[in-house]
Amino acid sequence: MAQNSNAPGDTPDLSVQLGPLRLRNPVMVASGTFGYGEEYEDFLDLERLGAIVVKGISLRPRPGNPPPRIVETAAGMINAIGLENVGVDVFLKSKLPHLQRLQVPVVVNIFGNTLEEYAQLAAKLDGVPGIAALEINISCPNVKEGGMVFGTDPLMAARVVQVVRRATALPLITKLTPNVTRIGDIARATVDAGSDMLSCINTVAAMAVDIFSRRPKLANVMGGLSGPAIKPIALRCTLEVLREVHCPVIGIGGIATPTDALEFLVLGARAVQVGTANFVNPSVTTEIIEGMERFLRVEKIARLEDCIGTLDTQCLFPFAEIACELTDLP
């Protein structure tokens, strides 16, 4: 039963319940930053991860954008990879089998440019063994609606979730974009449309300029900002979402240390995804898991679940009780 004391020798329990999924710890890797897992096998034991989210998959292979595709910025980077991927057929044939052999939940990140593409993709993945959940990337332009990004409008976002929901029985995670006025509205719309969970956030729209060549530093002109720079934005978005919906939320954005990850959990996220930090330190996820364990030991907390959602926004004045007697002094 629930462990209440935590003797020094005990291993704290890092497992978390994420909707229907039980994860051995809340540390997942973010889509597009971990390839299909193989790329990192020299640096860590993939089975130690809470879950692996693979690079975004589309119905057909996509070549991606012309280079330059990335640029470094202050404590961050902008990418405009253009969602290059091998397509769902090659993914199922030559990427998934390796992951299926491992004891780690695999989340498949999917995207399309039309509702039909989303639906067909979800149908193809439905029932495939070894897939724990789908993560729906709604930060893509809707080509039928003049290129407006699905995830920036509650109705369009909900429609994507609906068609995916109809096409598969897999647990659904909707991945929210921060580039909106009220992220809570999108969160609510997608949950009402059948999303079991949310992940938050995708990259922040950004660009960089080279003053000598007078050109954008990315061939695509604009791209998505990620890395430590965006963590404060991601935390704010996560709180806004948590205030609006009651489903499990996965925090993403700038996570690079155990402290970063714990911040999202304290806020109320039930898991986190690590993205850009994998590029800087390919075994960072292992270090984050170990750091969380250390935190629980130091703070004498038996189960990580007991930290989730413990943010206290009320009691802001620690001296208030002991000090109120002072108010009527001189």
């Binding site: 930053t33 790329e39 012309p66 280079p67 595709r69 640029v71 470094e72 800087v280």
Partner: protein
């Protein structure tokens, strides 16, 4: 096997204009590394700069457990790297990518082209080739076309003469050797001396590589070009280091290869040169003034 290793700086030395030679005690990586491969270096603790920087192996000495990189200070990352003293700790990842291949041909000469800091991955390769060819008794010539903006950028390469490597110097300002582009010197020399090399190795700025590629393609010379691109991971995960490439199965289609995984050494015919955008070159004038 890719390795993340915490290494210490054996020594750091300024060897030419804005050019440093860094010796690292990297026992594990030195044993795995091959010439033409590269490593990713975290030049400094913390988030400024955020990403690691890629550098080719300049020298690999598996016996001593030492690797060297030769680099030009061009921005924040390389500037901070240049501030490391002996004993400093650095986190490096390597060896990454595919190295150079040995030439697969008869007694035809070997040609190498190096532009500026492009000499870095080339020097030990040429030494090895010379040593390897000498005992074999083959009278094979090795030509190095070595270009720079000005003479003080050249790396002192004492070994060239003794190894019998013919060096063709060129500078933009004429301060040493041919005045003008090194690729022009290459073309002229090859035409004049009617040399038909069995391979051309090349490393340097993309604009130079383009001309080497064109010359190699026009003359049917097999090429091994070490190309650059902006990199985030070096591991094939971010897909950031793409170069427009020819898809042999569907030559008309948009297709990309990735420098960190498919390169950094490519054959000229693999790249769609007309689609390459050089990454913007920001002269660091504000950084260092």
């Amino acid at each position: 096997m890719k390795i993340m290793e915490d290494v210490s700086v054996v020594s750091q030395e300024k060897v030419a204009f804005q050019t440093h030679l860094l010796r690292l005690s990297a026992g594990r990586i030195s044993r795995e590394a091959r010439l033409g491969q590269f490593l990713m270096v975290q030049v400094r603790d913390g988030t400024d700069p955020l990403l690691r920087r890629p550098f080719s192996f300049h020298r690999i000495d598996a016996e001593q457990g030492v690797v060297e990189i030769l680099y030009r200070v061009v921005g924040r990352g390389t500037w901070w790297l240049s501030q490391c003293d002996s004993g400093a700790r650095l986190r490096i990842i390597g060896p990454l990518g595919n190295g150079f291949q040995l030439p697969q041909c008869g007694p035809a000469p070997v040609v190498a082209v190096a532009g500026g800091i492009g000499i870095a991955p080339m020097m030990q390769l040429l030494e090895k080739l010379a040593q390897w060819l000498a005992p074999s008794g083959k009278t094979r010539e090795i030509h190095l076309f070595y270009g720079a903006r000005t003479a003080e950028e050249f790396i002192p390469g004492k070994a060239f003469d003794t190894l019998g490597i013919t060096v063709h110097w060129s500078t933009d300002d004429g301060s040493r050797g041919h005045e003008g582009f090194v690729t022009r010197l290459l073309e002229d020399t090859m035409r004049r001396e009617k040399i038909k090399p069995c391979v051309v190795y090349s490393c340097g700025p993309l604009a130079m590589q383009y001309h080497v590629a064109r010359w190699a393609l026009e003359n049917g010379v097999p090429s091994q070009l070490s190309l650059e691109s902006l990199m985030a991971c070096g591991l094939g995960a971010c897909l950031g280091c793409a170069l427009p490439a020819v898809n042999p199965a569907a030559p008309q289609e948009e297709h990309y290869l990735h420098v960190c995984k498919d390169g950094p050494v490519f054959k000229a015919e693999m790249i769609q040169w007309h689609k390459i955008q050089t990454h913007p070159a920001t002269p660091p004038i504000f950084l260092f003034s």
